[in-house]
């Protein structure tokens, strides 16, 4: 059962071949026996999951099932879950039990899905390797047969590893600069970062509010569509949520791709990309041509500035968002503070990890008197230039394709000593967040036994088209079905 997709499991439940209780127990058993080697979960909610499975079976028996009723899945530990601790990968929130649900959590609950636990992540979603988690690094299920263990990518590394290792068929994730697509690529699964504002951010612990977007991870594009059907939609509780109709994302998966216009941004096929990686991506593009798509080169001339703009905007917004962690109302508080300033400064020094502190300090610096115009305002102007590149490109083509990452999964510890080296991991994903457009990563081959991701980028609100393109590719390839050995 653990190799089946959400769509397949849903049919098994519907046919009565298996109950949600049996299915949930199977996945819980699998997490128990396998996750010791991956550390992809921070919290496993066995009791709650079994109770939810029982009520899902009752709902189904009563004829009130949705496609998700009784299907097990996991939440990234950034989505607040009422009564279940939500850590965001941080000591600061080690014992934080939210008194409310995120809208995304509520949506899955309402659909009858069974959450089996909360997945590991880089602390406050800041990282590209899942090594900054207070709850320990996550190991990529791929490459375990090699000498050294590999990172799963980050920040949604726990969700990606859990899906790749078949511990759950699907998991929620978030993407601020590549945190869905990069781990999806490194773990050989399919992930989607929707348009900014498509999925509610309410109850999703904030990192950089103008960039953060919740999204989906599963092995197939079809399952990503099933997830987005549940997650997308207007939410009055999120002030940047977009009020726009949500299509049925599964309805257009089988549209033919004949005539699809694909653009290859020349800046994303640069010398940062290894020839072996490039070959895999070019092979994938050739598959699309066989499906009737046409291909041309396009340019994103300002894309080279994306990392620089991002590392002003994201830390600046993080420094503001994370100022709420002060030890007063919830979360960690230092022992025996001697005065208020001591409580703030020691709580934050002890509660945050090194990368989070670096980013808060950079952000505070960029926003401080005398530097605001040179950094924050300048970065926001560059952000518009980057957005304009995408708007121009989508006048010529329907989708853009590129590698998701410059190289496959790297070895644990390889990039932790220099933050900037780690930041460059997101060179092909970050501009997409700055522009706010949607993008996917789809398994597209292997280099040295490690998965390679194809990034497919679309115009605003073109999630259905991206999922259609990914689904059609998955009808003629089997990269997404490969299982880590």
């Amino acid at each position: 059962m653990h190799n089946k997709s959400v769509a397949e499991l849903s049919r098994e439940l519907e046919s009565g071949k298996i109950s949600s209780l049996e299915l949930t127990q199977q996945f819980l058993d699998r997490i128990k026996s396998e996750d010791g080697q991956f550390n992809s979960f921070i919290t496993v909610t066995e009791e709650q999951a079994l109770a939810d499975a029982r009520s899902a079976d009752e709902q189904r028996a009563a004829g009130k099932a949705t496609p998700w009723t009784g299907v097990p899945f996991a939440h990234k530990d950034i989505f607040c879950t009422n009564g279940v601790r939500t850590t965001c990968g941080s000591k600061m929130l080690e014992n934080f039990v939210p008194p409310y649900d995120a809208t995304v959590t509520e949506n899955f609950r309402r659909a009858g899905a069974v959450c089996v636990g909360k997945t590991n992540m880089d602390e406050f979603a800041m990282g590209s390797s899942n090594e900054s988690s207070y709850f320990g690094a996550v190991t990529n299920p791929w490459g375990l047969n090699q000498d050294e263990k590999r990172v799963p990518g980050g920040s949604s590394g726990g969700s990606a590893a859990a899906v790749a290792a078949r511990l759950v068929p699907a998991a929620t994730a978030t993407d601020t600069g590549g945190s869905i697509r990069q781990p999806a690529a490194l773990c050989g699964i399919t992930g989607l970062k929707p348009t900014y504002g498509r999925v509610s951010r309410y109850g999703m612990i904030a990192f950089a509010s103008s960039l953060d977007q919740g999204g989906t991870m599963a092995r197939t594009a079809e399952d990503n569509a099933l997830m987005l059907n549940v997650m997308a939609g207007f939410d009055p509780k999120d002030s940047t949520s977009i009020d726009r109709d949500v299509p049925d994302y599964t309805a257009t998966l089988n549209e033919p791709l004949k005539g699809l216009k694909i653009g290859l941004p020349r800046e994303y096929f640069s010398d940062q990309l290894s020839p072996a990686m490039e070959q895999q991506v070019r092979n994938a593009v050739t598959e699309y041509e066989k499906l009737g798509a046409t291909v041309k080169e396009v340019s994103l001339p300002n894309a080279k500035l994306a990392i620089a703009a991002y590392y002003v905007i994201a830390p600046a917004e993080a420094s503001a968002n994370l100022s709420r962690f002060d030890g007063a109302r919830y979360g960690y508080r230092c022992e025996a503070p001697k005065d208020l300033m001591d409580m703030y400064t020691r709580t934050r020094a002890e509660g945050f990890g090194a990368e989070v502190k670096r980013r808060i300090l950079v952000g505070t610096y960029a926003l401080s008197a005398g530097y605001f115009d040179a950094y924050y305002l300048k970065a926001q102007k560059v952000r518009r230039l980057i957005q304009q590149d995408f708007i121009n490109a989508f006048k010529e083509v329907d989708v853009l394709m590129s590698p998701t990452t410059p190289s496959p999964a790297f070895i644990q510890g390889e990039k932790t000593s220099d933050p900037v080296t780690m930041y460059l991991e997101d060179v092909f994903t970050i501009a997409i967040n700055l522009a706010g457009v949607p993008a996917m990563s789809v398994p597209a081959g292997f280099v040295d036994g490690l998965p390679v991701g194809l990034q497919i980028i679309g115009d605003y609100f073109s999630e259905a088209r991206l999922l259609n393109a990914a689904h059609q590719f998955q009808q003629v390839t089997d990269w997404h079905q490969r299982e880590p050995q």
Binding site: F96, Y196, S210, D339, A349, V420
Partner: protein, 95 residues
């Protein structure tokens, strides 16, 4: 662009994060490297470019001025580090 020890100490105070003496050197290097990366922005021509705050140029929605939330003080205070008589306790602020 380099960042001085003095800058780091000042920013640490603004950010309310205690930075110990022995951490300052490492931060000088790390933050200096990040600011070097960020300094590429200076070369971009952004004359007549409007800063972008929201990808879809949306503005903050306003809601009707009506009470919609119920009081959940007990639930919120149940997860607080220290409370008494419905109040959050912090170290003494006014002598």
């Amino acid at each position: 662009m380099t960042i001085s020890r003095k800058d780091i100490e000042k920013v640490a105070v603004l950010a309310r994060i205690r930075v110990d003496e022995e951490q300052v050197s490492a931060l000088e290097t790390d933050l200096g490297n990040i600011l070097d990366l960020v300094d590429q922005l200076a070369a971009a021509d952004t004359a007549n470019v409007e800063p972008m705050a929201h990808p879809l140029n949306a503005v903050q929605r306003l809601r009707a001025d009506e009470v919609t939330e119920t009081n959940q003080r007990e639930a919120f205070q149940a997860i607080a580090p220290a409370t008494e008589n419905g109040l959050y306790l912090v170290p003494r602020v006014i002598e």
